[in-house]
């Protein structure tokens, strides 16, 4: 037992004992986040491309999806998928429900990032490609997207970090990820400050890892413009 001041007592041995459980919780967080990122990237790339596609129907559908998802809270979306879908006869495992809700949510943000990246490429690039006889699709694929990708990386990294932190919301549907694990340990030990500090550190370690990976890929991919 350590004591700081006269009546504040911290017991970090409780955190030490909790480390193995928190580590397990963190791996669940990492798993659910990476699956959601993969799903969100897939949806988001399609949605972002649809937003700039020459087809009006595609643009409208993608626009509606993005507006709806961004205009409603992630927590409500998680509840809708986990508690709402059974009313339609679709009973999902909490983990699957969590990944689906987070993936759909992230897809909307990724879609906007992808659209922004594409639209940030100067119009002259598309015109030059078309003038060489390329079709719109070829120009998009060979000229616009490779350039947009480099610009998309930093905001994409921010989105991944936000998603990892937001994954704490799936603790509400009984997934024993990092936050939920912390809560459970506290109900047993009552060491709120110590355990929550530990939980925060775990989150920070993971977001820091993501930001390093993104930074690394940025540097690998950069070309001067």
């Amino acid at each position: 037992m350590e004591s700081w001041g006269s009546n504040v007592h911290f017991d970090f041995s409780a955190l030490y004992k909790a480390l193995p459980s928190l580590l397990v919780g963190a791996t669940v967080t990492l798993r659910i986040t990476s699956l959601s990122i993969a799903l969100g990237l897939g949806i988001g790339i399609v949605a972002g491309l649809a937003r700039v596609w020459p087809n009006t129907i595609l643009r409208t559908v993608a626009g509606a999806y993005i507006e709806l998802v961004r205009g409603t809270p992630l927590l409500v979306q998680i509840f809708l998928v986990y508690f709402g879908l059974p009313a339609l006869g679709l009973n999902l495992d909490p983990f699957v429900a969590g990944v689906i809700a987070m993936g759909i949510n992230s897809g909307a943000y990724v879609g906007e990032i992808v659209r922004g990246g594409i639209e940030s490429i100067a119009r002259g690039q598309m015109e030059a490609a078309l003038s060489l006889g390329m079709t719109w699709h070829q120009a998009m694929y060979y000229v616009i997207l490779p350039q947009a990708f480099v610009r998309i990386l930093p905001p994409l990294g921010n989105e991944f970090i936000a998603l990892l932190k937001d994954s704490s919301l799936v603790s509400t549907i009984a997934i024993a990820e990092l936050t939920r694990t912390g809560q459970i340990i506290i109900t047993r030990t009552f060491k709120s400050f110590e355990i929550w500090s530990g939980v925060a550190l775990f989150y920070f370690a993971m977001t820091y890892l993501i930001s390093r990976i993104v930074r690394f890929s940025e540097e690998r991919l950069r070309y001067s413009e």
């Binding site: 015109e127 030059a128 078309l130 003038s131 060489l132 390329m134 000229v143 490779p146 350039q147 070309y223």
Partner: protein
């Protein structure tokens, strides 16, 4: 095969309510070099952009080598393969080397094998004097070098006509000459060229015909000696007196 590479009949173009091109009729013969001169905002660049379908037109017809490109359902990509377009701002692809810039369209559009595309690209880069820059990225090139790579890139598609949209306007004065030399060489080889330019020296020396566009209308056209030394239209005289200091 038609006698004309480019034939424009009664073209009208509006930006909103602004009438930018007024009843333009223009024909360009194979092997001819036509310079389009005129004040800023007279519609020169817009005309060029209409000719390869980058700008929609409101009425009139445009034929490229006999193919009407303003008809419904025309395959614009196919037509554009025979029109080289050089932009004021180069528009090189910054994520590719000079060589990759030049080989991209032949490989992806014409499905040319890489080795053949590269052989042709290196030949063209040598022609524009930049063979040693084949593996440089656009950011490592000067403006004049970029524009010459852009010319090689267009030539790689073996176009029937080359269009230049103020190709030297964004260049440092000392690099203008290299680009103009390449263009002169092209003209000598018999390339059909339409050049929107402020380089009156080039227009006078190289063109077979000069077209003066004023406020969206062709007010005068003819051989350079006539346009530059005996202009008939008062607007042409006025324009030339402002740009030429002899």
């Amino acid at each position: 095969m038609s006698e004309w590479v480019v034939e424009v009949r009664n073209l009208n173009k509006y930006f909103g309510r602004h009438h930018v091109l007024k009843d333009i009729t223009l024909r360009v013969r194979f092997g001819e070099v036509v310079s389009i001169i005129g004040a800023s905002g007279s519609g020169k660049s817009t005309l060029l952009r209409c000719l390869n379908g980058l700008e929609p037109i409101q009425s009139g017809e445009i034929f490229i080598d006999g193919v009407c490109i303003t008809a419904n359902g025309v395959n614009l990509s196919k037509v554009r393969q025979s029109i080289g377009m050089i932009f004021q701002s180069f528009n090189l692809f910054p994520h590719m080397t000079a060589l990759e810039n030049v080989t991209l369209a032949p490989r992806k559009v014409k499905r040319m094998p890489r080795a053949e595309a590269e052989r042709i690209a290196l030949e063209l880069l040598r022609k524009v004097g930049l063979e040693e820059k084949a593996h440089a990225y656009p950011a490592q090139l000067s403006g004049g070098q970029k524009q010459r790579v852009a010319i090689a890139r267009s030539l790689a598609m073996n176009p029937k006509v080359m269009m230049f949209d103020e190709p030297t306007s964004a260049l440092d004065p000392e690099t203008v000459k290299d680009v103009l030399d390449v263009m002169k060489e092209l003209a000598r080889e018999g390339m059909t060229m339409i050049v929107v330019t402020h380089e009156m020296g080039f227009a006078r020396e190289v063109s077979d015909r000069v077209v003066h566009l004023d406020d969206g209308r062709i007010v005068e056209e003819g051989p350079p000696e006539e346009i530059f030394y005996r202009p008939k239209h008062p607007r042409t005289r006025e324009f030339l007196s402002k740009v030429i200091n002899i």
